[in-house]
């Protein structure tokens, strides 16, 4: 589905990613794990087109999308939930969702489906997103991404900094989405247990390099924890 091949990337003169290769299987989940500063978010920014790589390629279903703008990638079926519960703070919850639905033939249904996933957002539709709690903003961010009916969803630490009750809800939603078919997921996550339950394949990133990778699943959790504890 998505192939990130030999990618080198960084900010100004500093290099963050060094020849990183990661693949997301079709209708499957690939998890990228690693400590803070390993380059996980940078990898997603490259995948989404927010950061142009200094080398390497990004392929979506075989098409080279390395030089495409982010909105062009969205048009090709990619969606991205960035780190930090990002929203448009001065737009209401409803406007945050409608913004993405505008111009889509199935926009109304897509918004309704997204709200069915996170019913709390329905009650908060008139509230400005900047006034929502962190958990509510993260639910809004995931809902917004799903309105584009993506084939590939990039999730950057969806449970980071969220109260535990909402974390469970978000984890269940991500697991359910990844299992319903027609959607591939590239998941960056610190919670090893959740990541390994969701992923068919994992990659461990350390200092901008893939140091370990393998088949996912709960049985691989021990090996991943060990690799990360080094």
């Amino acid at each position: 589905m998505l192939e990130i091949t030999d990618v080198r990337a960084g900010y100004d003169r500093s290099s963050v990613l060094h020849d990183v290769t990661v693949a997301v299987p079709k209708d499957g989940v690939a998890a990228v794990l690693g400590h803070n500063g390993a380059g996980k978010s940078t990898l997603l920014r490259v995948a989404m087109g927010l950061l142009r790589p200094k080398g390497g390629r990004v392929l979506l279903d075989g098409e080279d999308i390395t030089r495409l703008a982010p909105h062009q990638r969205v048009a090709r079926g990619m969606a991205y939930v960035p780190q930090g519960q990002q929203s448009f703070p001065h737009l209401t919850t409803a406007e945050n969702l409608q913004l993405v639905a505008d111009g889509r033939s199935n926009g109304k249904e897509a918004v309704a489906e997204a709200l069915d996933l996170f019913p709390v957002l329905r009650e908060l539709s008139g509230r400005r997103a900047g006034l929502l709690s962190g958990g509510q903003r993260q639910q809004l961010a995931i809902a917004r991404a799903l309105i584009t009916s993506p084939r590939l969803l990039l999730l950057d630490e969806p449970t980071e900094g969220i109260q535990p009750s909402v974390v469970a809800e978000i984890e269940e939603t991500v697991l359910a989405l990844s299992r319903r078919g027609g959607l591939s997921v590239l998941l960056v996550e610190q919670h090893v247990g959740f990541a390994m339950r969701a992923a068919q394949r994992y990659y461990i990133l350390e200092a901008g390099r893939v140091t370990s990778s393998g088949e996912g699943g709960a049985q691989a959790e021990g090996a991943v924890r060990e690799a990360l504890s080094v």
Partner: protein, 294 residues
């Protein structure tokens, strides 16, 4: 009492002019953060559009009506061109933007001199707008009432576009978080150009209105640019309602001070008041509260 009411109307009419010239800036400077020194020249372009139209349409009323949308298009196109040619390359470099747009403004002034000559020109106001009406001893100049109506209409139109239309949502989204807007499927560069088109177009409409209260000349925009920036800054960057309130408050303040002193003293006093206000409240009249700016 009549004097107070007369001066209040004068102040409101000054405020309406301030509002019209600042309205476009609430988008290009207030929303996008671009210090566009050529905004005054877009006002000038709107004014000259009115002048050119009157050469071919002799009926002053009709030419004024046609001039409003045409000036919007002319000034808007100039703005979109400026954004596409120069500003889009300089979004992260505000000082360079200031210099480049200032250079662009000088070019437009010279272009106007080459085409229309250096001396000021005049347009004929429609008969309907040349008179005045008196209510209880208070005199309302028709042209000033027209400008007030036009300013309020533009505010209403801009508010509706920003609040209720997909374009408005896209404009606000790009302003608040460009990267997030892009990954939400919004072509942010196209939105930037459209925003600049509308902001500059509104300057053109202001130019049409200004032909009713003064002469048209190559440097007319320069006279208004500082006032326009002051209205937007004092109102609170990106806050339309702040700009509306500020324009009318400054207008009334100016009129009251002009009555009790002189025009020059009033100007200085208003500037001092603005400086004192910004010392006390640097963020301007209005700001939006959020838990997080992410």
């Amino acid at each position: 009492m009549t004097v107070i009411l007369n001066q209040s109307f004068t102040g409101i009419s000054i405020g309406a002019v301030l509002l019209l010239i600042a309205l476009g800036l609430t988008l290009t400077f207030g929303q996008m953060g671009v210090i566009n020194m050529a905004h005054g020249e877009f006002i000038m372009a709107g004014a000259y559009t009115t002048y050119v139209l009157q050469q071919s349409i002799s009926a002053a009323g009709l030419s004024l009506l046609v001039a409003l949308p045409l000036a919007f298009l002319v000034a808007g196109t100039l703005g979109a061109l400026l954004e596409w040619l120069l500003i889009r390359r300089l979004y992260t470099r505000p000082l360079d933007t200031l210099l480049v747009t200032w250079g662009f403004s000088l070019m437009l002034q010279q272009l106007a001199r080459d085409i229309f000559g250096a001396p000021n020109v005049q347009t004929r106001a429609p008969d309907l707008l040349t008179g005045h009406i008196s209510v209880g001893g208070v005199t309302f100049a028709n042209s000033r009432l027209f400008i007030l109506g036009l300013a309020l209409l533009c505010v209403l139109g801009l508010t509706l576009v920003l609040r209720l239309t997909p374009l408005g949502r896209r404009i606000r989204a790009v302003v608040q978080n460009r990267d997030l807007a892009e990954v939400s499927g919004i072509a942010s560069e196209r939105v930037d150009r459209t925003t600049f088109f509308i902001g500059s177009g509104l300057a053109g409409v202001a130019g049409v209105a200004l032909t009713l209260v003064g002469p048209i000349g190559p440097t007319m925009g320069t006279n208004y640019i500082v006032d326009a920036f002051l209205v937007v800054v004092v109102g609170g960057i990106g806050q339309l309602k702040g700009s509306v309130i500020t324009a009318f408050v400054l207008g009334v303040l100016q009129a009251v001070l002009e009555y009790s002193t002189t025009i020059s003293v009033a100007k200085v006093a208003v500037l001092v008041a603005i400086v004192a206000f910004l010392q006390w409240r640097p963020q301007g009249l209005y700001t939006l509260r959020t838990r997080s700016l992410a």
